[in-house]
């Protein structure tokens, strides 16, 4: 274990973000030296993979669009199989600031028991202003989650997160399909991992289309609320080694 110099992987999920994804990779090379970068091209129909490869990043191309959860989980599996100590998710739309990875890492360095560090837009004053509708939704989730996990959670939808080995192996085994961030907070809680939040700057989206368009936000709310309440009633939310597989090959009703 090299606690002084952990190997860190930056996972950049990108779906049709040929404009911004290469920019994100370049900013990672520039502002987060020593961090390996892998771009997960989530079945893009534009030149995202070629553009990302041209910047020198490793590119994993999913054969078709899996959604953000499936794409990021590919990153968890990759990090686990290649023995990374830490993994940070940096969205391909340019919303997350590469220089802030150091902020996340500092929290984990300071308290090695921390399994997941979330960058929050709402802690402290960083001038981030999301549309009012989205902020309302985020605050509803934040309120519910804070009650459930019994500690303040200010930005449960932020994807800008740093994970250690324990969190990587948990999420490599099981990560929610779509809109995974809120559920991931619950899973971390159920598995008694330690989560911390830290204020970070975030930018407006650099381009492309958000995975949460306004038309989908109602579905998003309902789906995540369902996931929260189902998650509450799950005795054990995740398969442990030796359990039946989450996608069993056998037939059963």
């Amino acid at each position: 274990m090299r606690t002084d110099n952990p190997r860190t992987l930056a996972v950049v999920p990108a779906y049709n973000e040929a404009e911004t994804a290469p920019e994100v990779v370049r900013s990672l090379h520039r502002d987060a030296p020593g961090v390996d970068v892998v771009v997960i091209d989530d079945g893009s129909t534009d030149a995202t993979a070629a553009a990302a490869r041209a910047t020198g990043a490793r590119v994993i191309r999913l054969p078709f669009n899996l959604g953000i959860g499936g794409a990021v989980q590919t990153g968890f599996v990759y990090a686990r199989e290649n023995g990374y100590d830490r993994m940070v998710q940096v969205d391909g739309d340019g919303q997350h600031v590469a220089a802030e990875i150091a902020t996340l890492a500092a929290v984990m360095d300071e308290d090695p028991a921390t399994d997941m560090v979330c960058g929050s837009r709402f802690l402290g004053d960083n001038g981030y202003l999301a549309p009012i509708s989205r902020r309302t939704g985020i605050h509803i989730f934040a309120f519910l989650l804070s009650r459930i996990v019994d500690r303040p959670v200010t930005d449960p939808t932020s994807g800008f997160r740093l994970y250690n080995r324990r969190a990587i192996s948990l999420f490599a085994r099981d990560y929610p399909h779509d809109y995974p961030e809120v559920e991931a907070v619950l899973m971390v809680h159920h598995h008694q991992l330690q989560m911390r939040e830290v204020p970070v700057r975030m930018l407006e989206r650099g381009g492309g289309v958000s995975s949460i368009s306004s038309g989908k936000s109602a579905y998003y709310m309902v789906k995540v609320l369902l996931a929260i309440f189902v998650g509450l009633l799950r005795r054990r939310p995740v398969v442990e080694p030796g359990d039946a597989s989450p996608a069993p090959a056998s037939h059963g009703i």
Partner: protein
């Protein structure tokens, strides 16, 4: 139960059974997905023929017109079948996701290991798609 509706019920249930059985015989339908169908068809056929049992069921649950009980039971079977398919679709979705992830990881590993063929293929695929998307190139 009136004879006409009884005949219609018998013919419909028997027809369903024959169609499903024939699909399995031609390997168009897997046995595991046919079992529920065949069981439903047999149960409905049995109730249609043995109208005494159907009438007793109807009066027990308070249905005045016995064929309505047959419809209710058929509806129940349809619900179970739909749930069964939702489960099957969920399982397939999970399995497909894992396959896609494994495939993508393998392709990346292969191209990193310097397999020229894989790299050429990946590059060719990138170029094809880039050519289809002229606006994305500066």
């Amino acid at each position: 139960m009136e004879l006409r509706i009884q005949l219609v019920s018998i013919v419909a249930a028997a027809g369903l059974f024959v169609v499903v059985f024939e699909m399995v015989r031609r390997r168009r339908l897997l046995e595991r997905y046919a079992l529920l169908w065949l069981f439903s068809a047999l149960a409905l056929l049995g109730l249609a023929i043995w109208s005494g049992l159907l009438e007793r069921i109807a009066s027990t649950i308070g249905i005045i017109y016995p064929p309505n009980a047959l419809f209710l039971i058929a509806f129940g079977f349809v619900l179970v079948l739909l749930l069964h398919f939702s489960l099957a679709v969920s399982r397939l979705t999970d399995q497909t996701k894992m396959l896609a992830q494994r495939l993508a990881l393998l392709e990346e590993r292969q191209s990193r290991a310097g397999h020229d063929v894989a790299r050429e293929r990946a590059d060719a695929r990138d170029e094809d798609e880039a050519a289809l998307e002229p606006s994305s190139r500066p």
